[in-house]
């Protein structure tokens, strides 16, 4: 009987009291858009394509973001300039499908694709949520300031010959007989 009273009455009263006390706690609601929320730098919002410290496109069209994308909303095509630097001929994100999971950013070997704290992306026309490279590419390095993929990779591009990447010896002269 006591147990029943405890379960049915006392515990309910305690519950009521505890919920009531919440009336004196601070509200969590942020009154967006009157008040702009504080977004963490690592917030996964609008996707951008960044440039390397030299101002060149970071994206090398390796397709890893596209294959990592769980909703398959990234499509791109590789092309290259006369000196062998790869970049995307087109790079398209269908934001009406994007779930902002950030897998693309994790997959990107060049830090080109990054998610930003901007989340205000609603459109009245769905077609306007398809973003092309011109819309995505920014004039900056984004979150990662120093990394330049081609300074590390051994592929020759304009302004960086064979043997000039990080930790590379000058090209071998095959005709040399020296050991």
């Amino acid at each position: 009987m006591l147990r029943l009273i405890k379960d049915t009455l006392i515990s309910q009263v305690v519950t009521l009291w505890r919920v009531f006390v919440h009336a004196f706690a601070k509200t969590d609601t942020v009154e967006y858009p009157d008040v702009q929320p504080q977004m963490a730098a690592r917030w996964r919002g609008r996707i951008i394509l960044s440039r390397d410290p030299d101002g060149e496109e970071r994206c090398v069209a390796c397709n890893l973001c596209a294959v990592a994308c769980p909703v398959d909303c990234i499509a791109l095509q590789k092309t290259e300039d006369e000196e062998g630097r790869w970049y995307p001929e087109f790079f398209r994100i269908n934001f009406s499908r994007c779930i902002m999971c950030g897998f693309c950013e994790e997959a990107c070997p060049t830090n080109a694709i990054q998610l930003t704290p901007d989340f205000e992306m609603a459109e009245y026309v769905r077609q306007d949520m398809v973003w092309e490279k011109e819309d995505l590419l920014i004039n900056g390095t984004g979150k990662y300031h120093d990394y330049n993929f081609y300074r590390v990779a051994g592929k020759k591009i304009r302004g960086k010959d064979k043997g000039e990447a990080l930790n590379e010896a000058p090209p071998v002269n095959v005709r040399s007989l020296l050991p």
Binding site: L4, T8, Q12, T15, L16, R18, V19, F20, H22, A23, A25, K26, T27, D28, T29, E31
Partner: protein, 320 residues
């Protein structure tokens, strides 16, 4: 039997006030829930979001009022007004303050109970007429729940009636001038409170419309203003039960003279309304069978015991 009818003006004023208050309860409930859940609730329409109700009403009035082709049209249309009408009629016997009220009936308590029984028809008919399995389940639950809890509701009141010696609500209030019945009749008070929640199928006893299980129960198929009537009917029910709690157990309009009696009545009612909302915020819904077991196996014996002890007390006092 005394029988006084107030002026048409006062009837209109009371009706208007009651409906407006019930409608405003929608806003009050959402704000209070917000408060207890550490958020804000509706605050964008008008000052403090007060006009949210107006916005909701505009919405609900302009919605398509649709009767499903498979429904029984007559009873489908009939059901929602029933609940409005019976609850509003119950208010006719409520003594708000000295001189404020529609009629002063000697059978006030019985009238309220009778009207509450009729309210069950609204819910039952609505569910049956919908011709929808969820609605049917909802109406079956509603019928069982309302019929069951009416029993202890009535019995729990009998203590008060016995102490006063009258079914007249105004006399019951006056009888409490030297002490509210909540003290001697605490058990009756608690049982009436619980039964009242169940009667108005408010959370945690909203089993007939449990949306996690049966979509929206008996009003699954309702839309537009017919749904609106069910919706407002629920808040009218809250208002009615709160008023009854005040009248029967908490001394009605009685209170220190620095405030007019009607204000005392309003304040006490407001307290109980807030309590109803707190219940919703805090307590989860029991299962259907738990509700029935609780009622028949615990509340019924308890209320009978309460009546027995009250009777014994009166006899003992009378014999002195």
């Amino acid at each position: 039997m005394r029988f006084e009818v107030g002026s048409a003006l006062s009837i209109g004023a009371i009706l208007f006030t009651v409906i407006i208050v019930a409608a405003m309860l929608i806003w009050v409930e959402r704000r209070l829930l917000g408060l207890w859940q550490e958020r804000l609730g509706p605050n964008r329409v008008g000052p403090f979001g007060l006009l949210q109700v107006v916005a909701d009403m505009i919405k609900i009035f302009t919605k398509e009022d649709w009767v499903p082709p498979f429904a029984d049209k007559f009873s489908f249309i009939l059901a929602p007004p029933i609940i409005m009408v019976v609850i509003l009629m119950s208010f006719s016997v409520i003594p708000f303050a000295p001189g404020v009220g529609v009629i002063d009936s000697d059978i006030g308590v019985l009238f309220v109970l009778a009207m509450a029984s009729l309210g069950a028809y609204s819910v039952m008919l609505g569910g049956l007429a919908s011709n929808n399995k969820y609605a049917l389940l909802g109406s079956l639950r509603a019928a069982a729940q309302m019929v069951s809890y009416e029993v202890f509701m009535g019995i729990s009141l009998l203590g008060v009636v016995a102490l006063t010696g009258s079914f007249n609500l105004r006399e019951i209030v006056l009888a409490q001038s030297d002490g509210w019945y909540v003290v001697p009749q605490f058990v009756g008070f608690v049982i009436f409170l619980i039964a009242g929640v169940a009667e108005s199928h408010r959370l945690p006893f909203d089993i007939p419309e449990a949306e996690q299980e049966i979509v929206a129960g008996y009003h699954t198929e309702y839309s537009g203003m017919k749904f609106g009537m069910f919706f407002v009917g629920e808040y009218l029910g809250v208002l009615l039960i709160s008023s009854l709690l005040v009248v029967l157990f908490c001394g009605g309009w009685l209170g220190p003279a620095f405030l007019p009696p009607i204000v005392w009545f309003a304040l006490k009612t407001a307290f109980f309304i807030a309590f109803f909302i707190l219940l919703r915020a805090a307590i989860p819904r029991p299962r259907y069978d738990q509700l029935m077991n609780y009622g028949w196996l615990f509340l019924l014996p308890l209320s009978l015991l309460n009546l027995l002890l009250t009777g014994a007390f009166i006899l003992w006092q009378g014999g002195m």
